[in-house]
């Protein structure tokens, strides 16, 4: 019961936040210098198309009606037509979203697992050489500048050694030739994904290692660890089942909190590797002044971030009954 009320409350909060973001975007697009109509309608189209889109998006109406049109269009999935691609924005982001989710969730999950595992070991061996090296390594990884590290990987592993393709998600030859089966295509995607995955993985693991380590150091001071030892449990059992299990909880919330930062890194990685995801589309749309696409990408990312935060909060509440206020 408590949990259900908690989830409901968080849902409402998130809904409100998203609404505010929608409205702020609406206002921003209209107070920016330049003609607001030109932001949703490409002046290069034919006058009939221009008029059609204007009436569809309600851009010739007074501001309050425009706002209602804006909301209606948003929930109806009509985000306008992309200037650059000439297609409806919804189609474009629908095609790009799976790529981003694939890259991002894989790297985050792998990095969280690795970070928790390594951080647990580092904290356990605190003060010893292994801990110092692991912490230093994690610090370096955590503070690497994302696009630079991405470029380095492309340069060394892609260009110099030639092990990995330089960009994109697929090799056209593999996919266009009729005889490639699903496995070959799948392997091709993975082949392309390894470098961006590595970039994100290394940096994120550094962060999670540091988090888990400090969380664990705090947990190790708790009384129940002394009790566990006094009960005669092996060191390994104390470490894994008592200390690490509790220390991992704050790391989970931190995944949610650091999501904003990870998404920055994700967008940069996608751009450098030209991985066709939402982050890359946002950057490219902004560079090309493709406002409808940029706005939709941003809203989508905002929605994803808020949803992820909700999931993390609920997960944490499920795992730790103390915080369900």
């Amino acid at each position: 019961m408590e949990l259900r009320k908690f989830i409901l409350r968080r849902l409402v909060e998130i809904g409100v936040i998203f609404f505010v973001i929608l409205t702020v975007l609406f206002v921003l697009f209209r107070i920016a210098p330049g003609d607001p109509v030109a932001r949703m309608v490409d002046p290069m189209w034919t006058p009939e198309d221009v008029q059609h889109v204007i009436s569809q998006l309600g851009l010739d109406q007074p501001i309050w009606t425009q706002y209602l049109y804006y909301l209606k269009n948003f929930f109806g999935g009509n985000f306008g037509i992309s200037f650059h691609y000439g297609e409806p924005v919804l189609d474009i982001i629908w095609k790009r979203l799976p790529n981003t989710i694939l890259l991002f969730t894989t790297s985050t999950i792998l990095a969280a697992l690795a970070g928790v595992f390594l951080g647990k070991i580092a904290a356990w061996h605190k003060g010893r050489k292994s801990d110092t090296w692991m912490t230093l390594g994690a610090l370096v990884c955590h503070t690497l500048f994302v696009p630079w590290f991405a470029l380095m990987l492309v340069w060394i592993l892609g260009y110099k050694v030639g092990w990995f393709p330089l960009n994109g998600i697929i090799s056209p030859e593999v996919w266009v030739r009729g005889n490639s089966n699903f496995l070959v295509k799948g392997l091709d995607v993975i082949h392309h994904m390894l470098l961006p995955l590595m970039t994100l993985f290394v940096i994120q693991t550094g962060s999670y290692l540091l988090l888990m380590r400090s969380s664990m150091l705090g947990t190790l001071k708790e009384d129940y660890i002394v009790t566990a030892r006094a009960k005669g449990l092996t060191e390994k059992a104390v470490r894994n089942h008592h200390a690490a299990r509790n220390a991992a909880l704050p790391v989970i919330t931190s995944v949610g909190l650091s999501l904003a930062f990870s998404i920055n890194g994700g967008a940069l990685t996608e751009t450098v590797f030209t991985w066709p995801g939402i982050g890359k589309e946002l950057v490219f749309a902004v560079s090309n002044n493709d406002y409808p696409l940029a706005q939709a990408c941003f809203l989508l990312i905002a929605a994803v971030v808020l949803t992820a935060n909700l999931i993390v909060d609920v997960l944490y509440a499920y795992l730790d009954p103390r915080i369900r206020y």
């Binding site: 909060e13 955590h142 500048f145 994302v146 696009p147 450098v272 749309a285 902004v286 002044n289 941003f298």
Partner: protein
């Protein structure tokens, strides 16, 4: 609580803090690196002494007009139109400090004030401010800045600094608020209230001095994120085009297709960005050990 005893107490705390700091190897490494970068930034003021050829933005070598490797004339080589890379690196150090420190400073001023107000006032004000902080904290700052750059055109460096600060204060305010909440219950606050002190006076005269060390600690982390965001923005091409920052240098390497041919151009700015972030971070963690009430027994001024 007389002024003299306060001052003696403060000096005592500083001395103890320095002793703890000195023990921390990482803190020392961080500080050393930062001093190095600071020297670079200061050196950037003196490059005009070497002649107009070495200007980071407009310097043009009459003999070289393309990317070349390190040599005697140009210690790190030249970029794609013959500008000296070393002076660009020095200039980047200056910009990094400028952007990092100012953005961090503004954001902790904002964050501290908001945190103290929220913690002290409680109730509706608290809820409103913390909801606002939540909302801002959740959004990826780089993408917001990108969108703003798209709508409002090329952003001036100081505008970027201000926007970064506006997007980063929530993190500080949460911590300050928590600290304020604990301080609020302390007897010396009660005493001040009984003595008739106004709310403003209590906040700024009694709570703020106890909260400031925490603010400054978080300033180091704000600096790192400010530098990273500015560098990322410049890398994507939305930085201030009149400023030669490290991110801008990386953008030039990338956009002119020299990233595979010119390691002497690709490596230095990237290493510098990562290294300065690392050193601020190490400094912050060392200071954390000095200041964190959880890690040592802290006596508040009473």
């Amino acid at each position: 609580m007389s002024n003299l005893s306060e001052r003696v107490h403060l000096f005592d705390r500083l001395a103890k803090g320095w002793a703890i700091f000195r023990e921390n190897l990482l803190g020392k490494i961080g500080l050393t690196l930062l001093v190095l970068f600071a020297l670079m930034a200061v050196a950037s003021f003196f490059t005009p002494l070497f002649g107009p050829m070495y200007d980071p933005m407009t310097g043009v070598d009459p003999l070289i007009s393309h990317a070349t490797g390190p040599g005697w004339r140009h210690w790190l080589g030249t970029d794609f139109i013959g500008r000296d890379i070393f002076t660009q690196l020095l200039e980047g150090a200056k910009i990094a400090f400028m952007v990092g420190l100012s953005a961090a400073f503004i954001s902790i001023v904002l964050g501290t004030i908001v945190g103290m107000l929220a913690g002290y006032m409680g109730g509706f004000v608290d809820m409103l401010l913390m909801r606002l902080a939540d909302m801002i904290m959740v959004m990826p700052s780089l993408l917001i800045l990108l969108l703003l750059a798209a709508l409002f055109g090329q952003l001036n460096i100081w505008l970027i600094v201000l926007l970064i600060a506006l997007l980063r204060w929530p993190g500080v305010s949460r911590v300050i608020r928590a600290q304020t909440l604990t301080l609020k219950e302390r007897p010396f606050i009660e005493a001040a209230k009984v003595a008739g002190a106004s709310h403003i006076r209590i906040i700024f005269r009694h709570i703020m001095p106890n909260v400031l060390p925490l603010s400054f600690l978080y300033m180091t982390f704000r600096v790192t994120s400010a530098i990273l965001v500015e560098a990322a923005l410049a890398f994507l091409g939305f930085g201030d085009p009149s400023q030669v920052s490290w991110g801008m240098m990386l953008q030039w390497v990338w956009k002119t297709g020299h990233m595979f041919q010119a390691p002497y151009w690709l490596l230095p700015p990237g290493i510098c960005i990562s290294l300065i972030t690392l050193s601020f971070y190490m400094l912050g963690r060392a200071m954390d050990e000095v200041l964190d009430p959880r890690l040592r027994k802290e006596e508040f001024s009473e």
